[in-house]
């Protein structure tokens, strides 16, 4: 990658007067305090919701601060619904991890290691589902595959006959299916880099010694990928098990217990915050334990697939049948995860009365007109989502950037300790972050304002920015900054003219990533919104209780916003893909 041009304009040469000394001292103070303040703010954002949830889980009521009890946990232990919910949640996490790992590795292998036609395009297209809202994905799959009214059953039933029963999407299997489609790009992103840089000579050596394709895959390729795959799988397990959006739309209507929806239900009337907190505490401790395991696993493994030896990553030459199969898998994934959901949303959104079948003759834009011009709540929600995404992404990148600087440029024991702690929110489900901030801030002026949602969103996702920028900082030699300082530049000048231009790709990629995530965020905002502070995702949940057409129209608008973010991000694809 070509280094971005830096500029020395604006840097004044060093002087030796008292004013210069004062400026130098001020600059040094700033250099120390700004990153340290960002770290402190990050620690508060991490600790705030965790501590408040833990604390509330052992209180008997909202007001009795000295009335400690274990009753909330005892009640959970005796609740058969919760036990079933825990089993369903674990099964979902494992199922999603397994399916998305298989599919993600397969897609990454096809794109990175084979000679299949169009792999350059698929490299990007495979990422599109990553940018969709899981809630919208779930809604669209209900339109596609609901057993009695879905588009596919209604279209195919005349050919397949009544004897053929479509799998019931309103089930744990349905949740796993939808989540797997949307989590496949996570695994894909984790493994495509190592797969691309893998030394083909290792596989060649195996084949020369008589190993077949599957034997080589099992004994050479998979072990080489295992660290990256395991790392991705742990992330997928923890985040998919904690995701609230998909179970809300698919499992809840059938009364299927899942822990994230049980937490949400406990916050709803008749409200039992103690129960919600106890559930959240158990889930949070489990996810933190997984995060620790993940950190230890990553730290203990070597990830280098690039060695000092000369090598040439070569594509595997597939036969005609192999190429057709690989192309088929690629197309099937893209159609299933991206094209079908969008087509279904368009069909429903253009239908004035959704009957399970699209009737082009009666199609019109009335649902779009309604959500864009007639309903104040959806208009407000669109504006709020954009505000949350822009402000949240900006704050998140500023915070993450300064924290990354603290971690990478102050190589102390403290900074080594700080990084994993600041990364914790990534593993904690949004619904728990939202609950934590609800407990923490309900009696502050932030409650009922848009800022409580922004605070929760920044707290949940700033580690993404920190990690992205931190990775880029690793590749920038500190001598560049030191040279600028030695030439008389203040710290701010060194940042402005040297570091920020060099970090620009990571800063933009992080900002766009946070923007996209915050436009679709639901877990935290569903518990924190008030009248007038609804976001698009919250409005989707409210509308989903009213009319299929309205929810589909607003979902299409959200998809357009997210795809806009995606195409902007494509410009930073090289950075994003870690190349």
């Amino acid at each position: 990658m070509e280094a971005p041009a830096t500029s020395t304009r604006g840097i004044r040469p060093a002087t030796t007067g008292p004013q210069s000394q004062r400026s130098s001292v001020a600059s040094t103070v700033l250099q120390v305090t700004l990153p340290a303040a960002a770290v402190a703010a990050g620690l508060v954002l991490v600790a705030g919701p965790i501590v408040s949830t833990l604390w509330r889980s052992v209180l008997a009521s909202d007001t009795g601060y000295d009335d400690w009890t274990w009753n909330n946990f005892v009640a959970l232990a005796l609740d058969r619904g919760i036990q079933q919910g825990a089993i369903n949640t674990i099964v979902t996490g494992l199922g999603v991890t397994l399916f998305s790992a298989i599919l993600g590795c397969l897609l990454a292998w096809i794109v990175a290691r084979t000679d299949v036609a169009g792999r350059k395009s698929f490299e990007i297209l495979n990422l599109i589902p990553f940018f969709f809202s899981p809630y919208v994905g779930a809604m669209s799959w209900l339109y596609i595959a609901a057993p009695n009214s879905g588009i596919l059953p209604k279209l195919l039933q005349p050919w397949l006959g009544n004897a053929f029963a479509f799998p019931n999407v309103y089930s744990v299997g349905g949740v796993i299916w939808v989540l797997s489609l949307f989590y496949t790009p996570y695994i894909y992103l984790f493994v495509i880099g190592p797969m691309r840089s893998m030394d083909g000579a290792l596989e060649d050596a195996a084949r020369v010694h008589g190993a077949g394709f599957w034997y080589t895959t099992r004994t050479i390729t998979v072990p080489l990928l295992l660290p990256a795959l395991m790392s991705g799988a742990l992330v997928v397990f923890v985040t998919s098990a904690g995701l609230f959006d998909v179970p809300l739309s698919i499992a809840a209507p059938r009364g299927i217990h899942m822990i994230p929806t049980d937490i949400f239900k406990a916050v709803q009337y008749p409200t039992d915050i103690g129960r919600a907190s106890a559930l959240a505490t158990i889930m949070m401790l489990a996810t933190i334990a997984f995060a620790v395991v993940q950190q230890r696993y990553i730290n203990a493994r070597r990830f280098d697939t690039i060695s000092g030896k000369g090598y040439q990553p070569r594509p595997v030459r597939l036969g005609r049948a192999g190429r057709a199969a690989a192309l088929g898998i690629q197309i099937a994934y893209f159609v299933t995860a991206a094209v079908l959901p969008i087509v279904a949303l368009l069909m429903v959104s253009l239908s004035p009365l959704w009957t399970g079948l699209f009737r082009p003759a009666s199609a019109n834009l009335s649902n779009f007109h309604y959500v864009l011009f007639d309903y104040r709540m959806t208009q407000t929600a669109i504006a709020n989502s954009l505000f949350v995404a822009v402000v949240g992404a900006t704050l998140g990148v500023a915070l993450g950037g300064l924290q990354a600087y603290f971690v990478r440029r102050r190589r102390t024991r403290l900074s080594a300790l700080v990084e994993p702690v600041l990364s914790l929110p990534l593993g904690i489900p949004g619904i728990i972050i939202g609950l934590g901030f609800l407990i923490l801030l309900i009696r502050t002026p932030l409650y009922t304002t848009i800022w409580i949602i922004i605070v929760a969103c920044v707290a949940h996702f700033f580690p993404l920015a920190m990690r992205n920028i931190s990775a880029m900082l690793l590749s920038i030699n500190p001598e560049l900054e030191q040279s600028a300082r030695a030439s008389g530049a203040t710290w701010l000048q060194a940042m402005r003219f040297i570091m920020i231009p060099l970090l620009r790709p990571a800063l933009i990629a992080s900002w766009l990533l946070l923007f996209v995530i915050l436009v679709r965020e639901l877990g935290a905002s569903i518990l924190l919104y008030a009248q007038g502070t609804e976001t698009i995702s919250v409005a989707l949940v409210i509308l989903s209780e009213q009319n299929f057409g309205y929810v589909a129209a607003l979902a299409v608008i959200q998809v357009v916003l997210l795809l806009g973010g995606f195409f902007l991000m494509r410009r930073n694809a090289a950075t994003f893909l870690g190349r």
Partner: protein, 377 residues
């Protein structure tokens, strides 16, 4: 009129050119002034000193600039009609905003309770079909005492326990009855008990009394006339749990569900106007009438506007709009339904008697637990 290029422009020329604009502006100002001077219809009904309190209330509402309400029934198009009529009734400026959200009853109560816990009230008026909840909030001092002039027309409803002056009346009542789509099901039942054996497992929808008070009140009412084994048989059908009448109707139209235990006649009326063929049954045992109680929250941000809104909704005009657009049954004495075939008079509905006063938090929790036990939730 021609203009000469390069010639000097005289004051007369300028006046001639501006004359039509000046005339139009003058006409606009005169019209606007006349309109402003026109008395609000709400004031025109009053005489002499009676006008003063309302004038003060209107002035205060104009200063507040908006009213915010939460509701479980009113659809956005109905809200638009109500808002427009409300502004006209009190001659409020077009900039006056009526902000609202429609949610499930459980969501409305959750939001209101959270704001009460936080002591940060952003909602002015709430409406939810749970009189016991409203009675309890009155006792806690969370609902504003406001003796609406419209309460005089609700004396009969108050006498039946369907409200509590000066805290709340009901802005409209509804009930749940079995509903189906005539395009997918031929059903001729006349009793609640006829629901069994009609739809196969998984094709019947019901609702969850553990999260919805309107569903809970209906369950409590039905349990007074139907024994538990009926509900156990319903539970065996693995019903889908839905929380909003719009979605209950939408799923019947799409064919996902065949029969809804808790359909709302209002939705059948609305969807059938758009081409659907939903039908409802009037069970011979009767229905549980759910009065949607409407109240102003203590410490709300726009109290004057809230009072005007409550007065308007309870007025003859407000009730007519709600009956026409939402098919709600009015509790106003002497109210004549504009669509009697769809919205019957409250006296003609065969209701299952509910003693709202006797419903306590404990009895509600007991009913929730019973339902959850039967339906394994």
């Amino acid at each position: 009129m021609t203009s000469r290029v390069g010639a000097a422009v005289t004051p007369e020329d300028t006046m001639t050119r501006l004359a039509p604009w000046i005339a139009a502006l003058t006409a606009f100002v005169l019209t606007a002034t006349a309109a402003g001077a026109q008395e609000a219809p709400a004031l025109a009904r009053l005489t002499g000193a009676d006008k003063t309190p309302l004038q003060k209330l209107i002035a205060a509402a104009v200063k507040e600039g908006q009213v915010v309400y939460l509701d479980t029934v009113i659809q956005p198009a109905t809200n638009d009609t109500l808002s427009e009529a409300f502004r006209k009734y009190y001659a409020l400026p077009p900039a006056f905003k009526v902000n609202y959200t429609t949610m499930t009853p459980g969501n409305v109560i959750t939001r209101l309770e959270q704001e009460m816990r936080a002591n940060r009230i952003t909602v002015d008026v709430g409406a939810v079909a749970s009189p016991p909840w409203a009675f309890a909030r009155v006792k806690e001092g969370r609902i504003m005492a406001y003796d609406s002039p419209e309460y005089a027309a609700y004396a009969k409803s108050f006498a039946l326990g369907l409200g509590k002056p000066p805290y709340f009346a009901f802005n409209g009542a509804y009930f749940f009855v079995p509903m189906w789509n005539a395009e997918t099901l031929k059903f001729t039942g006349t009793s609640w008990k006829d629901l069994l054996g009609v739809a196969p497992s998984g094709r019947l929808s019901t609702t969850d009394p553990t999260v919805s008070d309107s569903a809970l009140m209906t369950y409590i009412g039905l349990r007074t006339i139907i024994d538990l084994p009926f509900f156990e048989e319903v539970a065996k059908l693995k019903p889908v749990l839905l929380y909003k009448s719009e979605i209950i109707a939408s799923r019947l139209i799409s064919g996902e569900d065949l029969l809804a235990m808790y359909g709302m006649p209002t939705r059948a009326y609305q969807f059938n106007q758009r081409g659907a063929r939903l039908q409802v049954m009037s069970p011979k045992e009767g229905v549980v009438l759910l009065p949607q109680v409407m109240f102003i929250l203590q410490d709300c941000p726009h109290p004057a506007a809230a009072k005007l809104w409550l007065d308007f909704i309870l007025s003859e005009q407000g009730q007519t709009i709600l009956a026409e657009r939402e098919a709600l049954i009015s509790g106003r004495s002497g109210f004549v339904s504009p669509i009697p075939d769809v919205v019957p008079s409250i006296d003609t509905v065969k209701t299952i008697a509910i003693n709202w006063d006797a419903i306590t938090p404990d009895s509600m929790q007991k009913a929730r637990a019973e339902w959850a036990g039967v339906f394994k939730r």
